[in-house]
């Protein structure tokens, strides 16, 4: 059993969507938007959820898939997580941190702002467009993290996009 954490340095929940893709939620032809996307967006008053890793589920190989996203300094999540686990001497052998490397665009920021202000319909349309624009990268990142592609070699993780 492995713990796979997708993370992105973005307001837009790219890593949540990659995690959902990992679990098979984004198959098929466009439009790629599904109702599940809405749960990744926060209202302004929903600060309790900010930064909290989202548990996407368990994949076919019994790996636990999580996602965490937040706009901030690049690599913050990675460093925080590794040093926190080190503090408790938790073995990192089965923990995989995958940087989606997807960045915010004007559209993605607008989508988040629309949801935050309660304009769900507008937010959904914008989110749909953002996912369509980035679908190839989303599926590539998720595909590279399937069980058969994961090794225990840290050098391999660095190769991941």
């Amino acid at each position: 059993m492995k713990y796979i954490f997708y993370y992105s340095n973005s307001l837009f929940p790219y890593s949540g969507i990659v995690a959902a893709a990992h679990l098979g939620a984004l198959k098929g032809e466009p439009p790629y938007i599904r109702d599940f996307v809405e749960k990744f967006f926060y209202r302004n008053e929903d600060s309790e959820r900010t930064g909290r890793p989202y548990y996407a589920g368990t994949d076919l190989y019994n790996n636990h898939v999580y996602a965490v996203w937040n706009s901030g300094r690049s690599g913050m999540v990675y460093k925080l997580m590794l040093s926190f686990l080190e503090m408790y001497e938790i073995k990192k052998k089965n923990i995989f941190l995958v940087d989606t490397k997807l960045k915010d665009s004007i559209l993605s920021i607008l989508a988040c702002k629309a949801y935050a202000k309660g304009f769900d319909r507008g937010g959904k349309l914008l989110a749909e467009r953002v996912i369509q624009n980035n679908f190839s990268i989303i599926s590539e990142v998720a595909g590279k993290s399937f069980n058969e592609n994961l090794t225990k070699d840290v050098a391999y993780q660095i190769m991941l996009p």
């Binding site: 890793p53 965490v68 690599g75 913050m76 999540v77 460093k79 925080l80 926190f84 080190e86 503090m87």
Partner: protein, 154 residues
């Protein structure tokens, strides 16, 4: 117990707090600039090191003291570590996060940005030192509260 002092850059107020906690600085006596500069990591860490939880030492009642910089990630960091501890079965009462940002004054902010972000150490460092000395008593008060709470838990 692991005590994590955190501030924006993890190189000024959190470092001073850790130094007071570990008795490297006397809590009731405002130090001078040289004393502050002698503390490891004071005004030396770059913004790339934000997020690294760094071990500073162990206090007299065996609590481990750490520092970290979390940029604008304040609440998100608290939530993130809270959830991580749940995922990996770490008991929540084994660590304590102490936010020092409310005690950071304008001189520390501007001096910190100039020294650490812009690279103008000659201008930023005296400003951040001056601000830190002014903030010392408030930071010390927080540390004393933390230490007395920890002692009461024994």
């Amino acid at each position: 117990m692991n005590v994590i002092y955190h501030c924006y850059g993890g190189t000024h107020s959190s470092v001073i707090a850790a130094a007071i906690h570990l008795n490297w600085l006397l809590p009731d006596e405002v130090p001078n600039g040289k004393d502050l500069m002698d503390i490891p990591y004071f005004d030396t860490r770059s913004s790339n090191e934000q997020g690294c939880i760094t071990y500073m030492g162990t206090d007299e009642i065996n609590n481990k003291v750490f520092i970290t910089g979390r940029g604008d990630y304040g609440l998100a960091m608290v939530n993130f570590l809270d959830e991580l501890s749940y995922i990996f079965n770490i008991r929540g009462n084994t660590y304590r996060l102490i936010n020092l940002m409310p005690y950071v004054n304008i001189k520390m902010r501007i001096g910190g940005i100039l020294s650490r972000k812009v690279g103008l150490i000659g201008t930023g460092r005296p400003m951040v030192l001056n601000g830190s000395l002014k903030a010392f008593r408030n930071i010390s008060k927080v540390v004393q509260e933390v230490k007395s709470n920890l002692e009461q838990r024994l």
